[in-house]
Amino acid sequence: MGIYSVYIVSKSGGLIFQHDHLVPKVETEKTCSFPLDIKLIFENKRIVVNYGQRDGIMVGHQLLAINGVQVTGRVLEDGRDALDILEKPENYPVNLKFGRPKMTTNDKLFLASMFYPLFAIAIQLSPEPKSSGIEVLEADTFKLHCYQTPTGVKFMVICEPSQQGMDILLKKIYELYADYALKNPFYSLEMPIRCELFDTNLQSLLETVEKSGLSNPETES
């Protein structure tokens, strides 16, 4: 049981809310000697493992720190180039920390707006007329549930594939949105939701769902 994150996309396709609920922190530290048996490459402004998976370091993991000094992009905090350091034998042995790449706000905005045309394409692809867009998108590691309101706002929940009762959760999030975002006079429509009450209520809703499940929502509401 686990809910990873919640996204709300406005009618025009912009991301107006995002909340990471459960992000399993995967970080591995390893002391390496020269020559480095992990092949690293620099792509998308981060140094990632390209080949050589072992000891919990997976392909696709990002280099987070060298000898405890944080790596941002390809440079260390003190301005040295990370790949240069790893090329020089005199710097060894080094302690490297790897972890799953984190999504930046920009990445999230980008992905949310990618979902919008995907949703529309699904409708076009449908063999039957009057199809809805994507409601569930399933992968081996997660399931994405999407609910579009009649006004065009999309609510998305990303959870574990085994998680049940997500359609009820989505409707509940919609209620929270109607209550705490829209009734806030300082919130303007179509703009990112920055309402503390909405955040806290969503947080506690997600916790309740995870703890007890929504197996019997009727008695609760």
């Binding site: 949703f119 409708i123 199809s131 309101t149 009649p150 065009g152 949105y177 209520n201 309740t208």
Partner: protein
């Protein structure tokens, strides 16, 4: 959390509080704006802004889906009036083409305790309601216009709101909802 929501659902305020707050708003508007027509316009505009937000609350709470004809819409509006004002208007006087109907309220809670002074006969006291209907319909891609046919404040027996469907806003229908 959900328990808290349920308490919120059950929390109904006395309609008198609402009536008096609305009264205070109208009085203030009349003070601020000299022209009665402008007061009407302001009330309608405020109602519109309320409507575009209230529709989400209505959809989330009632779980109702899209309407396939205007009669569905009229029933939803009736249901919404019951939810938000606690009165159930009757729907009548359908136009032959089915694009116009009347909401008849025997008793409009907004106008309890209200008498219009002779100097303000041009005031459409409950004009906010029209704005709410227009705003909320617009969010579900229906362009409607509404007006008062009868008003108890003007000496009629009932309050009658006429709602006319102008067109469906096809270009703004979200994908998957058309």
């Amino acid at each position: 959390m959900s328990r808290q929501t349920s308490r919120l659902d059950a929390k109904k305020v006395n309609s008198e509080l609402f009536t008096l707050t609305y009264g205070a708003l109208v009085t203030q508007l009349i003070k601020d704006v000299d022209n009665v027509d402008d007061v009407n316009k302001q009330l309608e505009r405020m109602g519109y802004n309320i409507g575009v937000r209230l529709i989400e609350d209505f959809l989330a709470r009632s779980g109702s889906g899209k309407c396939y004809d205007f009669r569905d819409t009229s029933e939803k509006i009736q249901l919404a009036t019951r939810m938000y004002l606690g009165v159930s208007p009757t729907i009548s006087n359908w136009s032959p083409s089915g694009d116009e109907f009347s909401l008849v309220m025997d008793n409009n809670p907004i106008t309890d305790f209200v008498e219009l002074p002779d100097s303000h006969m041009g005031l459409k006291y409950s004009n906010m309601l029209l704005g709410v209907i227009r705003g909320s319909c617009e969010m579900v891609q229906l362009e409607v216009s509404c007006w008062f046919v009868q008003d108890q404040l003007k000496g009629d027996n009932t309050t009658e709101i006429r709602v006319k469907l102008l067109r469906k806003l096809e270009d703004s229908v979200p994908a998957g909802e058309d």
